[in-house]
Amino acid sequence: MTEILDRNIKDLIAEHPGVGELLENEGIACVSCQAGTCRTRDIIEVHGLSAQRERAVLARIAALVDPGRKVEIPMLPRASPALPGAPLSPPLRMLVDEHAQIKRWLALVAPIAAALRRGEAGAVEAARSGVEFLRGYADSFHHAKEEDTLFPCFDPGLEIVRSMRAEHETARGRVREVVAALEQGDGERAAAGLEAHRDLLSEHIRKEDEILFPWMDRTLGTSAVGRLYGSFVSIESGAAGRPAELCASIAALSLANGPPFAIMQAAEGARGWPL
C-alpha cells in the first residue's frame, strides 16, 4: 500500500484508468488536472476525506491496482479533522473574495470573445481592459499574495503547491498570447486566448476555493493565520486603492458597452459560466 500511496497519481491513472474513474466519482478531479504530479497520499489528505471514506477509497484503489491481493489499509496522519462547511480563516477568506472579483471578468470573456470574432467596435478595448485587470489585479495583486506570502507557509516541494504555481505560470503565458494577438490585430486568436485563459483560471479557482484553501486552513496554526492576515493587510495598504480601481473597471465593462454585451452576458450566465 505504501508504494501506491507514494505513486504519482497521473502515472497510476495511466496504468489503471479505473482509478481515475473512481476518483472522479469521489469528486477528486485528478484526471483533468493540468499538473497532476501529486502523490496519492497527498490527494487523500488535501481533499479532507473523512477517515471512513478515506479507507474506502484506498481499499478500492488497492483492489484496482492489485486485484485479488489482501492489502492492509493504513490510517493516514492528518493535520486536523476535516470540519465540513467551517468558515475559512480571515486571510484565506480575503483570497476567496478576490476570486469572486476575478470571476466577474471570467463571466465577460464569452461576450467579449464573440465580439472580437465579429470585429465589433469596442471589443479590442474591452479585451485590453480585461488584460490590464488580469495583470494588475489577478496576477500582481492576488497571485503575488499567494506566491510570495501564502505558499511559503508550506513545504515548497509539496506537489499541490507546485501544481498551483505551475498553473499561475501557464495563465501568465496565455495572457501574453492574448496581448500579442491584440497587437497583431488577430481577433480570432485573441478570442481563443481569452477563452483558454478563462477555462484554466475557472478550474484553478475552483480547486483553490474547494480543496486547497480548506486544507491549508486545517494545516495552518493560529499564529501563522495571524501573521498571514497581517501581511495581506500590509499588501493592501501598499496597493493604495489600485485593486479597487481595477475591479471597478471590470464592473464598468458590461455597462459601458451597452445592450449587446449585457444581453450576451445574460445568455452566457444562463449557460453556467462563473459569475
Binding site: 467551517a86 493560529t222 499564529s223 493565520v225 492576515y229
Partner: protein, 166 residues
C-alpha cells in the same frame, strides 16, 4: 427559565472521559498512569481584571481569552491550547465590573497589536457573554485581527471551533 434552572449552574455528575472511552473500547478499567505535565503558563496575573493590557507578554502575541471553567474541563488545556499564547480568564456571568473588559480587549488589539485572539467558552448559555464582549471590543478597535471561537463541552470535548472574522 426551565423548572430545572440555568444549565450553567445545574448540578450534574458524569464519568471521566477517559473511563468512558475505555469502556467503549472494552479495555480494562484500570486507570492509565499519570505524570507531571509541564505548565505552559508564562505570565502572571491571569484574571482579566488584573492583567495590564499593554504588558510585554501581550505585545504582538496570540492571546487566549477563556472562561474560568475551561481549563478545568479540558484535560489537555496547557499543551493543546495555552502553549505559546498569552492568557486572560474571566467569568461573564459572575465577574463584577465587567464594563472595563471591553476596553481592555480593545487595548490588546490597538495598543498591544496582538496577532490573534482566541476566545474559549463552555457550552453553557451563560458563557456566551464572553465572546459577545470580545466581539464588541473588536468592533470598537481600529486594527483588525483574526478572531477564533472554541466552545468546550462540560465533558471536555471541543464541540465547535471556527474563525469568526477579523
Amino acid at each position: 427559565m426551565s423548572a430545572q434552572g440555568c444549565p450553567g449552574s445545574r448540578a450534574m455528575q458524569f464519568e471521566a472521559e477517559e473511563m468512558r472511552l475505555r469502556r467503549r473500547a472494552g479495555a480494562a478499567t484500570a486507570e492509565s498512569p499519570t505524570g507531571a505535565v509541564p505548565s505552559q503558563l508564562r505570565q502572571w496575573p491571569v484574571q482579566l481584571h488584573l492583567v495590564p493590557p499593554t504588558a510585554p507578554y501581550f505585545k504582538g502575541a496570540d492571546v487566549l481569552l477563556t472562561a474560568d471553567c475551561v481549563a478545568y474541563a479540558l484535560g489537555g488545556f496547557h499543551g493543546q491550547h495555552l502553549k505559546g499564547k498569552a492568557l486572560a480568564i474571566a467569568c461573564p456571568k459572575l465577574d463584577q465590573g465587567q464594563e472595563v473588559y471591553v476596553e481592555k480587549v480593545r487595548a490588546w488589539i490597538d495598543e498591544a497589536e496582538i496577532n490573534t485572539l482566541t476566545v474559549m467558552t463552555m457550552q453553557v448559555p451563560c458563557c456566551g457573554g464572553l465572546l459577545a464582549m470580545a466581539q464588541r471590543a473588536a468592533e470598537l478597535a481600529t486594527r483588525k485581527v483574526p478572531m477564533k471561537s472554541l466552545v468546550v463541552s462540560i465533558q471536555g470535548e471541543i464541540i465547535r471551533e471556527e474563525w469568526i472574522g477579523a
